[in-house]
């Protein structure tokens, strides 16, 4: 695999200058690969590409690594009490374990230190341009890409470099999704999205309505139960609230034990329902709606405390919001409540503002690209998206294997073009494939994957790439 002699910074003196279509100079970076973002997925892309012998330039708009997990970053959705939802073995990179004396569910500050150590251990920072944001990514034929960057905030001149391949790892938890409600503009109380929620002091002594039963919504509801004077929790449907521990071990480890034993889904669902029934019991007697789906059909919610607080009366479960009035909120069952603060924990949408939506097959521009393995782009064999998965487990091992697959694919393109071409046909055929059992459709669930199904699919793809 040919590499550029100095895989560090692009240096205009040593690289050949080409002219872009609009006549601006483009510095040609040869076989170097561009990685957009130095968060968890970006870091593992940099590491694996470098390990496969590629030169890598990584652009990061912030001044540090770890993206969403560094809560000083302005796009970080992390709040002071964020802890992991999946336990340690599922969340660490497969080749760089977290210290085994850490708790089962580490705090977000530990995650930050983990990513910083990952970057230092594998000497990744020398590949990363901090404080640089990507403005445009354009295909230029021959499967190469022009990447235009500038300093974060729009200062300084733009500069365009040509790359052999691009990995998009810009994250999907930073562009808030706000639902529309009738009369929301007239509402006199305070309204915020969970992305701007940082600290439970923001809730202290207030009457709070938390909307959304994702893991964030549940966390905020639990904090509101302890801090606020009143807490309502509005959900569209009933959910299964999984405890973080069952049978004396982290619940996801028990689940994977069943997966390792190849217990079929129906049996696992039955066991799950049975276990919940035996531990927390029937949730409808607290006034929570009955789930309209079986467990494993929506993104799992792991929160032992929500039900606890509902049982203590500090959280009042309420149905969906019908409309807002200036001083109150009307619910779908006709009740009126009067919160001072409404927190929308309604999730995020993936956004690729630097890229023409058509390239990712997202024709309507709604942040819903058509990809294979949620990573590879049909008709653009040198473009990949990593970390765009919503697994029922930790995301980082998945991003790691995505990066490995893409690095091997690029290596195969050079060594065995015919094999890579066959693989590209497969990418086209498989675009839009799903890797989970039946799930409820929503803007969040389209990239929901079952980690076991997904990793098996990735493993198959890696094998096929290696085969003759």
């Amino acid at each position: 695999m040919p590499t550029s002699p100095e895989p560090g910074r692009p240096d205009p003196e040593t690289t050949t200058l080409a002219r872009g279509p609009d006549g601006r100079p483009v510095s040609d970076r040869g076989d170097t690969v561009c990685v957009i973002g130095a968060g968890a997925s970006g870091l593992t892309a940099v590491k694996n590409l470098a390990e496969h012998g590629f030169g890598v330039d990584c652009y990061e708009r912030e001044t540090g690594v770890a993206g969403a997990w560094n809560w000083r970053h302005d796009r970080s959705p992390v709040y002071a009490s964020t802890h992991l939802i999946s336990s340690r073995p599922f969340t660490q990179f497969p080749d760089f374990p977290m210290p085994d004396h850490w708790p089962d569910y580490p705090h977000h500050s530990q995650l930050l230190s983990y990513f910083e150590r990952y970057a230092d251990h594998f000497d990744l920072r020398r590949h990363i341009w901090f404080g640089t944001e990507v403005v445009r990514v354009e295909p230029v034929g021959d499967d190469r890409w022009d990447v235009t960057t500038r300093s974060t905030g729009g200062y300084g001149p733009e500069r365009t470099s040509r790359y052999a391949a691009v990995v998009i790892a810009n994250g999907h938890n930073w562009s808030p999704k706000l639902p529309r409600y009738e009369g929301l503009e007239q509402f006199r109380g305070e309204v915020m999205h969970a992305s701007s929620y940082k600290d439970s002091a923001q809730l202290r002594g207030k009457r709070v309505l938390v909307v959304g039963a994702g893991n964030t919504g549940c966390d905020i509801a639990v904090e509101a139960a302890q801090q606020a004077s009143r807490c309502w929790h509005s959900t569209r449907r009933g959910y299964w609230y999984a405890p973080k521990y069952v049978f004396g071990r982290p619940a996801d480890q028990v689940n994977d034990l069943l997966l390792a034993l190849r217990v079929p889904l129906r049996v696992r669902q039955w066991l799950y329902h049975r276990t919940l029934r035996l531990t927390v019991g029937d949730l409808t007697r607290f006034g929570l709606p009955k789930p309209d789906h079986r467990v494993y059909e929506t993104h799992p919610i792991a929160n032992s405390l929500l039900v606890y607080h509902v049982g203590h009366g500090t959280i009042t479960p309420v149905p969906d919001i019908a409309r807002f009035h200036p001083h109150s909120v009307e619910l779908t069952d006709g009740r009126q409540i009067d919160p001072e603060l409404v927190v929308f924990a309604t999730g995020y949408l993936p956004r690729f503002e630097f890229l023409d939506g058509k390239i990712l097959g997202d024709d309507e521009g709604v942040g819903r690209p058509r990809l294979w393995l949620n990573a590879l782009v049909p008709d653009h064999p040198t473009l990949a998206v990593t970390g765009l998965v919503q697994p029922d487990s930790g995301i980082f091992p998945l991003a790691h294997w995505q990066a490995v697959l893409f690095a091997r694919l690029l290596a195969t393109r050079a060594s065995r073009p015919e094999r890579a071409a066959a693989f590209a046909a497969q990418v086209r055929a498989g675009a839009g494939e799903r890797y989970s059992g039946q799930v409820k459709d929503s803007t969040r669930h389209w990239f929901e994957v079952g980690h076991a199904d997904y990793l098996r699919a990735l493993e198959r793809a890696l094998r096929e790439l290696e085969s003759k």
């Binding site: 073995p89 080749d95 085994d100």
Partner: protein, 267 residues
Amino acid sequence: MRSWEWARPVRPVRREVLSAVPELEEGRPPLLLVPGFGHGAWAYAENWLGHVAARGFSAYAMSLRGHGGSAPAPEATLRAYAHDVVQVAAGLPRRAVLVGHGAGALVVAHAMARYPAQAAVLVAPVFGGWATFGTALRRNPFGTLPAVFGAGLRLNRRQLFSGELPEADARRHAGRLGRAARRAQWQLLTGTDPEPAVGDPPVLVLGSPDDRVVPAAALNRAARRYASAPLLFPGMGHDLMLDARWREPIDAILDWLIKNPGRDDLG
């Protein structure tokens, strides 16, 4: 897919890690020295640790669980030992070179499937198997046979050291030997082959033709697994780091590391 491992994480233990860091950091990769069964970090602290640091590499020597100064672990398996190595390696400031001696080399081979080492060095590797067992049985039947039934594998001085090492030193070292967990010992015979290494690290195998634990054939087999030939140090016993001429193998290892960048990001 490693559902089975994810579902049953290895229990954390206190691990002994001795270190010697050079006065001047030269950007060279750190060495993590992994001792074999029965040995602890002390085996390296005796000679190699200081010598490695004197040559400008930072050196770390660890004790596997149940050995040396690490917490006791009578039920440990090879997986737990490999876990220990990966944990210590991932805790070092930079990507490490793994050096494994004896059965520690097998542990390192397992660890390499879980951690992309900078490079790996297998010193007199014991990869187990029946041939090695036969040799041990022939040389030291009373130390080996009880191990089959779960007792500690005992190695005597004549197996470990050459005649050049003063008798008093040999006696002192042999007296410090501990034992590995019985399940890990059985795995030497029955365990599965290590998975392929991740990150494609260069591997150096070295040993002694006069080793009374590792037969020359086993040494060649181990080297062939990594597509190389073993580097030989005639006249030395199994414990190359404690023997009288300990300086030769470690110098060879460091020279190899300096000469063989292996991967292009090695400074």
